[in-house]
């Protein structure tokens, strides 16, 4: 899978509002279900496929995202071989 | 050629304000304050200042608030009713620690409590200066801007219909001097992006590293500042013939000038009467009043209202001397504060009646 960007997520700053989930065009953000930060809020996790488009950062009310765009897109193996 | 000129009180006050460095004025027309706004509108452009004929008193005091944050000397004003609309802002401007001069060209003397008790919400006071005539108003206007800047607080000049509309010969203050330096607490945008941009707020300025404002700490600091101001501002009072007076008469403002003159004439006629005329109504000159009346048997207070300053005189004497109110509301048909009873003969009659 081609991956053109990635994000750093300040998990502790998140208030679990979910806005980034629907805002993400390739839908590669997913809220945790059981894990919560020290304030007790669930937070987003990143799946493969980020394009570095900043939609998440622009809509996040708590400035939780740092967004990066790779100089050259990465090719990530999919399926079993991808398990890190 | 001397700078003596026959000036309407409103014009003299406007010129004094500009001479003191005032460069912004906002007001809404209302008798008897209107002429001060008109003179400001005519004069401020001559010194590259700004005069706003605001669409309401609420907006006038808001505009003056904004101008004050830039460190330029700003003023506003009205008559009592218009000042009622401004009280909320005057209370908050006090907590925002901003210099502002407020002119009340009052109708009668019914605004004493509004002026001296902190007319808006919350626990605050303003410095209040009450001139008796045009020459004194010129001096007290200069002092008002000085105190406002020194203490970073609103200062009121409490005038009335007589002051605003009486023509008197005064040394016309020159308005061509430079405006005073802008203090460094003032805003002009330049601390933006520096990592610690300035905030001017009645809620305080927020706490380093924490979100939001710490209003409790800020209100405590404001209260301390008002205590400091009440002790630090020199109380002004005009006292005469009190050393051997059987009766001392207390009065302030234009009415105070009539009372003073009545006492002069009564003294000429051999009556042992003295007068005390508070000029700073806040901080009230309690010690000096106490001293002035200590030798007398009685104190009479004359005001053109139902008795307001009389309370402060009683507080100052704390029962040491009986204090009697001999004034009263006095209106002509216009209701603009011109009193048919404010004549030397009528006042003298009341004083004599109060003699022990």
């Amino acid at each position: 899978m081609t991956v053109r960007g990635t994000v750093v997520i300040d998990v502790e700053a998140c208030k679990g509002c979910d806005l980034c989930i629907d805002a993400c065009p390739p839908r590669v953000l997913e809220m945790t279900v059981h894990e919560v930060n020290t304030k007790g809020y669930r937070y987003p996790r990143l799946l493969a496929g980020c394009t570095g488009c900043q939609a998440c950062a622009q809509i996040c009310p708590d400035f939780v995202f740092q967004v990066y765009k790779y100089d050259t897109p990465l090719e990530l193996p999919t399926g079993e071989a991808a398990r890190q | 050629m001397s700078d003596r000129a026959l000036l309407e009180g409103s014009e003299a006050v406007a010129r004094a304000a500009l001479a003191a460095g005032c460069r912004f004025f906002a007001g809404y027309p209302m008798t008897p304050f209107t002429e001060l706004l008109e003179h400001m509108a005519a004069l401020l452009p001559e010194v590259d200042g700004v005069c706003m004929n605001a669409e309401s008193e609420l907006e006038a005091v808001g505009m003056a608030w904004g101008a004050a944050t830039t460190g330029h000397l700003a003023a506003t004003g009205s008559t009592g009713q218009g000042l009622s609309l401004m009280q909320e802002s005057l209370s908050e401007i006090t907590n925002a620690r901003l210099p502002l001069v407020v002119f009340n060209m009052a109708r009668g003397q019914g605004d004493y409590f509004q002026a001296t008790r902190g007319g808006g919400h919350g626990d605050y006071r303003h410095i209040v200066l009450a001139p008796m005539d045009v020459p004194e108003a010129v001096e007290l206007t200069r002092l008002a801007f000085e105190l406002a800047n020194q203490w970073r607080t609103p200062v009121m000049v409490l005038g009335d219909y007589y002051l605003a509309h009486t023509y008197q010969a005064v040394s016309a203050p020159s308005i061509s001097g430079p405006a005073p330096e802008v203090p460094d607490w003032a805003l002009n945008g330049s601390s933006g992006g520096s990592g610690s941009a300035k905030v001017i707020s009645p809620l305080g300025s927020g706490v380093e590293g924490e979100e939001g404002f710490d209003m409790g700490a800020h209100y405590a600091a404001c209260a301390a500042h008002i205590q400091e101001m009440s002790a630090g501002v020199e109380p002004l009072v005009d006292i005469g013939f009190c050393d051997d007076a059987d009766l001392v008469v207390a009065a302030y403002g234009s009415v105070g000038k009539f009372v003073r003159y009545a006492c002069l004439r009564l003294r000429d006629a051999g009556h042992r009467v003295g007068y005390v005329r508070p000029i700073t109504l806040w901080p009230f000159p309690s010690e000096k009043v106490q001293e002035a009346v200590s030798g007398s048997a009685r104190v009479a207070v004359y005001e053109q209202n139902m008795g307001q300053m009389v309370d402060d005189v009683r507080l100052a004497t704390l029962g040491a001397v009986p204090v009697e109110f001999i004034g009263g509301p006095s209106w002509d048909h216009s209701g603009f504060g011109i009193g048919p009873d404010i004549t030397v003969p009528d006042i003298s009659k009341r004083i004599l009646k109060a003699m022990p």
Partner: protein, 262 residues
């Protein structure tokens, strides 16, 4: 979420060479954490507002006059000079500042309760005067700070704590469409309405705000940007439903778009 979902590690910058295109909060927000509720639209709007200040290099002559609302507690978080005004009075305070600092950049940040309830005469008169300032209206149709009561922009049928069965025209009157009102005044040079309920609208908000600032700096006269913001707490909806609630409740009445351009 299937068990073998592969999560990318997001706790530190990537090892591979990459450009940093967004760094948490913009530089003019020095204090990122704040009290505003989860899913609140106001920090999104304020972010766009300060980014535009930065991009137009206005930071060192900008003064923002804040009204009273949830956003008030956000003001000290900004690295922009702020004057905190009384509820409703920001446009007058901004007028006094701009008149004394004509080369400065002066804006207000207000909510619908602040601007369209308490301070309607202030903003109308400032616009009619063509005051060369930019007013930002954060419109969520409720008093957020006090827990979700009706304001003048609450739409018909919208339920709030003081219009429990929904705003009823006979009892509660009709909403005021502020941007439409301001656009009729000759002193207004740029008037636009937008929203922050999806990434596209956030980008549009940024564009409109930038144009309003440019209009001010070109001496064009009064500019207003009305930004519809989510208030899940005050609307009593889940944070995830905020964007759709805005789209279905506010946007159909407070129409998005540029109403007046120089």
């Amino acid at each position: 979420m299937s068990a073998d979902q592969i999560y990318i590690s997001t706790d530190k910058p990537p090892a591979e060479p990459a450009a940093l295109v967004d760094d948490f909060a913009p530089s003019l927000i020095t204090q990122a954490n704040h009290h505003l509720c989860p899913g609140c639209g106001e920090p999104i709007a304020i972010r766009a507002a300060v980014e535009a200040i930065e991009e137009l290099a206005l930071a060192d002559r900008a003064i923002a006059v804040f009204g009273i609302g949830c956003y008030t507690a956000f003001a000290p978080n900004l690295d922009v000079e702020v004057v905190q005004a009384l509820h409703g009075r920001a446009p007058s305070v901004a007028t006094g500042i701009k008149r004394m600092l004509p080369d400065g950049f002066v804006m207000t940040v207000q909510g619908d309760g602040d601007m369209v309830n308490e301070g309607l005469q202030e903003v109308l008169h400032a616009a009619a005067r063509g005051e060369n300032i930019t007013c930002l209206l954060l419109n969520n149709g409720v008093f957020g700070e006090t827990g979700g009561q009706m304001t003048t922009t609450t739409t018909l049928g919208q339920r709030t704590k003081t219009s429990i069965e929904g705003r009823d025209p006979h009892q509660h009157g009709h909403p005021i469409l502020l941007s439409d009102l301001i656009a009729t005044l000759d002193g207004a040079a740029y008037v636009a309405r937008c929203a922050v309920n999806n990434a596209g609208n956030v980008a549009r908000t940024k564009r409109y705000i930038t144009r309003a600032y440019e209009s001010q700096m070109a001496g064009g006269g009064f500019s207003l940007v009305e930004i519809l913001t989510m208030c899940p707490t005050g609307w009593f909806v889940d944070t995830l439903e905020g964007p759709d609630y805005l789209q279905d409740t506010l946007a159909p009445v407070h129409n998005i778009g540029e109403l007046k351009t120089p």
